[in-house]
Amino acid sequence: MSLQLRDLYEGFRDAEVIKALSKRITQESEALREPLHVMEVCGGHTHTIMKYGLKQLLPQNIRFIHGPGCPVCIMPKERIDHAIDLSRMEDAILCTLGDMIRVPGSKGSLAEERAAGRDIRPLYTPLDALKIARENPHKKVIFFAIGFETTTPMSAALLDAAIKAGVENLFLHANHVLVPPAVDAIMADGRAKVNAFIGPSHVSVITGSKIYEPLPIRYGTPVAVSGFEPVDVMEGILMLVRQKNEARCAVEVQYTRAVSREGNTKAQALIERYMEPRAHFRWRGIGDIPHSALRLREAYAHYDAERVFAEHLGNEPIDDHKLCICGTILKGLASPKECKVFGTACTPSTPLGSCMVSSEGACNAYFRFAEV
């Protein structure tokens, strides 16, 4: 039998399989000695859980706690302000990916700047920034780079291609953040009642499952690295229940069709070559987390928008709207429905906070898939 593309979609979304796994989980979870509080670190999983109503398919003693893994949601306002300031420079073209364009900073969003006439371009792939730089040799083309470990190698590949092509009017503003320090910050805080993790899918494709190995040791929490499809998430939960019942805690991989222990070593080498950890990075709502993000290495400082255009950029931390509880949600301490303005003053078309903007944000997923 050979694998069909259709199997890869439908096989892992099969309603009957989801139901069967739900039954298994319900049966086996009766033996759990304490309730299972599963943090799904990645916003992609939050999206799947809400979209397929997986919460409703699980017994009372299994709860999800939504984690910080949405790259748009954790971007603090002062960094979005950087993007706006860069786009206001003379002869600048600012490029970025996806939802970033709609997230409000303290000076509004990039979408508003674009409406006001700035040259701001949403890209399908970072490589398009190189094309734009070549087509506009007299402009400064700035790629506002966001994302977790999944997207970092693509930014490194862009820089690599720019250097090889001798393009000198392309600059990166690097906001690449790392999963393990964020999870550590949440666990060290101690208030989130997390006792198991669903590990991210595509972060792990790049990094390998090895990056989670300290978690069971430090916090006694089992980890199941799962795929993004609903069957994957349910099977991941079953693996966590079994680990608990067998009094084990280890990193297990459910998503073996795509994740190895070592990950994509070519992508890792590319990151290593061009980027290094920052001493500090402020996460929206969570605050400063040491060594939790990357920047360009000193040797490539002339491609680094933050260094080259430093005089245009402010560095004061700017806090969120005072009603917004995104920070508490990102720390796993509250659910979107506890926010006073959820679904009223704050909706996907009028987002007050970043968690409402991205389809991976918890507030957005709740708004779209839960009965409001």
């Binding site: 399908y124 792939t125 693509m154």
Partner: protein, 93 residues
Amino acid sequence: MCLSIPSKVVEIDEHNVATVDTMGIKRQVSLDLMRDEVGIGDYVLIHVGFAMNKIDEEDALASLAVYKEILEAMDEEERRRSIEADDACEGRA
């Protein structure tokens, strides 16, 4: 942003750019991050215009086979349960 779905490689050009089929839609993706050789017919995961890795076909098939077994086991359990329920009604006329 992370929700990349599997795609099938249908063409590879001399610049290491592949044309892939994602649910019937054709897109161009860079193979520059791929460590292993990629061929026509391979399944890859795509993220922002790059292939991130190949999907292990055997592994995917093995998972699907396991799910089939789970379904069959569930079916059998259910059948047994309904027979037992039926047996429990022996008293009826």
